[in-house]
Symmetry: C3
Subunit: 239 residues, 3 copies
């Protein structure tokens, strides 16, 4: 797949890299002890690994695309507190597969979608905003966020956290959506990140409108904290 | 109020900003779903929000001033792990009010006191010290730290954490104080920050003396980690 | 002891400093309230303190040397989320002693070993690797990691976390070792660090071989994330 830097390392375990210091790895035959200690279902002989320093939403949405495209299951999703001094999370996603080629393919697909999903991530030195949207969630989004498989799903993220409360309120008022959850620094929904994250489903049109309304407000608030800094998309907005 | 940058953003939700990438926001009529998900008492139609990347003590002490000055209640205080690569916390404080003008006023007052409460925060590239004092704690300090309403209250903070143990020991030996709690990286009292924080009450004279004794020792210890760097107050010492 | 910067501060509580913004402190007669609040056994009148911004493994292995060399017990080991914007932990270690000279000596010995134990720590802007080995673990490693006292003990650490899974798998396949535990961002074994850490015992030869095998693989994977940056030891490799 394009742009995943497949040639940077000759090891069998290496698949590629992407934005956010994301690395993709594969293990053909996971050692029995590691299987046990990580509590991965023994039927999955092979695992694919997506791990990064910056981003949880982008990589999780990218992994959802991978799950749709391959014969793999997401076994593990964990979010460290990271972003290299920033306000958010890194991510660790493990795909289980019976065949190593499925595991490798899942990691390749996920790596290739990471850039798209940084498209509605905006940051300056004061914090960040993140928006994610899909018309049809699959099993990775279900596992990570409680999305409803087959239905639209959206996320608003604001940092510092208080901005995220205004995003959630704006999204809820902009369109008729079904709220799923709110994650705050201290309610167990984050790894003590400085974010408020809002997760919701509903009709695809409503979910998309809610995000667009929140994005408008969020950019103005975050810019007020550092008015002289540009506030731009990580890549190209996709919502 | 002076110095809160009220004109940086035209949105109704925007109130102002302060040091530490602190932003103040207000929502006149919080959406029902967000009310529910944040578990905010429904009687509070309006909320004020104070959120920042750097600092918990300064913003919490500032919010205590706001609670004294307005008809609001602190509904929520959470501390993410932050300080933009430093050793401490950021903060999220939500004020509940029945009237939006009370909520807005609380946020304005809090923003205007943030600078004062950075006065006894000292930092270099190795870590930081923080000291806070009030002769008369109110409901925000009670909720955040177990302060006794109406009595004096003090905090010593040291990072890296071991310095904070020496601060607590020095404070306890300098004057007759009533210890309330110690927060360490792993005892549940922090969000895995690299601090030891000591919270205490007592006669106002004793609390103040205890802080002054600890501050003397703390500055010398922190300076030993980076002797060539200046160790200065965030603004102007007030204790 | 050489190189611990004993003369940088004149306070009685100051012992010295080391790499990683590590500070060593001692309290001859710990205040009763602080004893109580930190839950330190009252029989330990004196405490030694080792605290740092960057590193847990190096300081914990150094403290293990100190416990072997002195009449002290490790009372407390806690790991904040730190490394000054990096992916790992800082550390707080408290030694208890009945005599202040034992406490001070333990801190001096620990400080003098910190540099050695940064020898197999490798980092670039994308993350880090850490390897630690001892032929004979003592009570600090037992308390921190579940090492078996008197037996060989090894650690592999990879960040971003996914690299650590490959390290654990490689170590387990390279030699016959006895796995003790795996710590991941979300399984409670870390303070939300962006690491997977693998802890194991076994014959000293096997433990050492397992580490050497994992180190080879880890360096290649981490380098792929930033190919133009050098990837060097913190000091001098010792394994």
């Amino acid at each position: 797949p394009q742009g995943i830097n497949e040639d940077l390392c000759g090891l069998t375990e290496y698949v590629g890299t992407a934005m956010g210091h994301t690395i993709g790895l594969v293990i053909a035959n996971l050692d029995y002890s590691v299987h046990e200690l990580l509590k991965i279902d023994p039927k999955y002989r092979s695992i694919g690994i997506l791990a990064d320093r910056t981003g949880a939403g982008p990589q999780i949405f990218a992994a959802d695309e991978a799950v749709k495209a391959t014969n793999t299951e997401v076994c593990m999703i964990e979010c460290p507190r990271d972003t290299e001094g920033g306000a958010g999370h890194g991510c660790l996603i493990v795909f289980g597969a019976e065949d190593v080629s499925d595991a490798r393919r899942a990691v390749e697909v996920a790596l290739s979608f990471v850039g798209k999903h940084f498209g509605d991530v905006y940051g300056n030195s004061a914090g960040h905003l993140e928006f994610q949207y899909t018309a049809r969630a699959s099993y990775c989004l279900e596992k990570a966020f409680g999305a409803v498989v087959g239905k639209a799903f959206g996320i608003t993220v604001g940092a510092p956290s208080g901005i995220g409360i205004v995003l959630a309120d704006t999204a809820s008022k902009t369109a008729t959506i079904d709220p799923i959850a709110i994650a705050t620094p201290g309610n167990g929904g984050t790894s003590f990140s400085n974010e408020v994250n809002f997760f919701f489903t509903g009709d695809s049109g409503a979910v998309r409108q809610a995000i667009i309304g929140a994005r408008e407000v969020g950019k103005q608030l975050l810019k007020a904290l550092e008015p002289s800094e540009p506030l731009e998309s990580g890549t190209v907005p996709y919502i």
